[in-house]
């Protein structure tokens, strides 16, 4: 686990929890771990977010959605994109991992297991439909850069696996 402090004012947490990742609507940006800090200074909220992947087209939308949610709660805000420390899949909360699985996206495994499934065809990613581990990699890149494509050989369900980024 990377030790990086998040600095978010308690009062802002419920507001930010309403903002979701536009590509994975069941996942709040808080559970995704992209909000690194949010503090109120002189009646203005300063938010820092970090991109999951450099080219993630969702980041601009997330920035706008945060501003809109805060505006709705009565705050003006500024959103800054920071690159350091770099986002890691470790920052997805347990609740976030569960939301991913329920949505049909297998949550990231650890870095070694990730290598095993993506490079050596090991069958350990659990099918999000039936729970079987008899699954195989179809493509290292899935519907977005952060996911790989899998298929279950038991129930035939095709599904995405959220790649480990560490």
């Amino acid at each position: 686990m990377t030790t990086t402090e998040q600095n978010i004012d308690d009062i802002l947490v419920p507001i930010l929890e309403q903002v979701s990742d536009p590509e994975i609507p069941v996942l709040s940006i808080m559970d995704m771990g992209v909000v690194r800090s949010a503090v109120i200074e002189n009646n203005k909220v300063k938010v820092q977010i970090t991109p999951t992947y450099s080219g993630c087209p969702a980041m601009d939308v997330i920035g706008d959605d945060i501003k809109a949610a805060l505006k709705h709660a009565g705050y003006d805000s500024e959103v800054e994109l920071i690159l350091h420390p770099a986002w890691t899949t470790d920052w997805i909360t347990p609740r976030g991992r569960k939301a991913l699985e329920d949505y049909g996206i297998a949550a990231p495994l650890g870095p070694e297991a990730d290598k095993d499934v993506l490079l050596h065809g090991k069958r350990i990613v659990k099918c999000t439909n039936c729970g079987s581990q008899n699954t195989r990699l179809v493509s290292q890149f899935g519907s977005t850069a952060c996911k790989a494509q899998f298929q279950c050989d038991d129930c035939q369900e095709p599904f995405d696996y959220f790649k480990c980024l560490k």
């Binding site: 450099s54 080219g55 087209p57 690159l83 770099a86 490079l119 890149f141 899935g142 850069a145």
Partner: protein, 250 residues
């Protein structure tokens, strides 16, 4: 303005920009749905990295030039990418070989850039490494699948490697900006990456049952803005929107 640092950033970013454009050309044209999506995702990663570099360059320039201006509105001679990345998608073997030959370098380079005294560059490098590791896995994997595949795939990937080999040495040439940045502890001494590069490339080629070319004749020029005949066509497509509809934003 810190001219050397600015030029140095362009030297890094132009490689990703031009390679990203080449990979993006495969959108809707990949040999299979999965490879099509993979190539465009890799392209997207590279463009994302380019944005971080050019946003920084734009800040350094401080003269109102935006990231879009820097990316889209230069003349051919002002782009300083290596010749390797501008080579065309002749067929899928060329696409994979070109990207593989760059990935091995890219990963070694970013690993060193992460140690830069410039905190912005170090942060960008740290972010990029995570992504490029996936790119390198993808292309190394395809090198082996094509090399150790059918007689036809093997012949094609060997031909692509042989043809593109002549562009590999330029990766390790130092520019004036390179030297200045290395002296300041900001830049990476690319000359020192050469041995590890050829060792890694050789390792993958061997595993792919391919021959490592022995040719010692190398092309250069990209880093000085002197490009191959393919560059103009690439830029025409890259710059079309920005020139047709000035001031568009990403």
């Amino acid at each position: 303005m810190k001219q050397n640092l600015y030029n140095y950033i362009l030297g890094i970013a132009d490689n990703s920009l031009i390679l990203g454009q080449r990979m993006g050309e495969l959108c809707g044209h990949g040999p299979s749905l999965e490879t099509d999506i993979a190539c465009t995702n890799i392209s997207l990663d590279l463009f994302g990295q380019v944005r971080s570099y050019f946003q920084y360059a734009s800040k350094l320039a401080g003269d109102g030039r935006t990231e879009d201006d820097i990316a889209m509105l230069r003349q051919e001679r002002e782009y300083v990418n290596v010749l390797l990345v501008e080579q065309p998608n002749t067929d899928f073997a060329y696409t994979i070989a070109r990207h593989f030959l760059f990935d091995v370098y890219h990963l070694l380079f970013l690993t060193e850039l992460e140690k830069s005294k410039d905190l912005t560059l170090s942060a960008i490098a740290k972010k990029c490494i995570k992504e490029v590791r996936y790119h390198e896995r993808f292309t190394s994997d395809w090198m082996k699948r094509l090399g150790d595949g059918t007689a036809e795939s093997k012949a094609k990937i060997q031909e692509a490697i042989n043809d593109l080999w002549t562009y590999t040495d330029e990766l390790f040439h130092q520019t004036k900006a390179d030297k200045a940045m290395v002296a300041e502890g900001i830049g990476v001494d690319v000359t020192k990456l050469k041995d590890a590069y050829y060792e890694k490339v050789n390792e993958v080629l061997t595993e792919a049952t391919l021959e490592t070319p022995e040719s010692k004749y190398f092309q250069k020029g990209g880093k000085k803005g002197i490009h191959t005949e393919h560059m103009g066509y690439l830029l025409a497509e890259l710059q079309y929107m920005q020139r047709a509809y000035p001031n568009m934003e990403w």
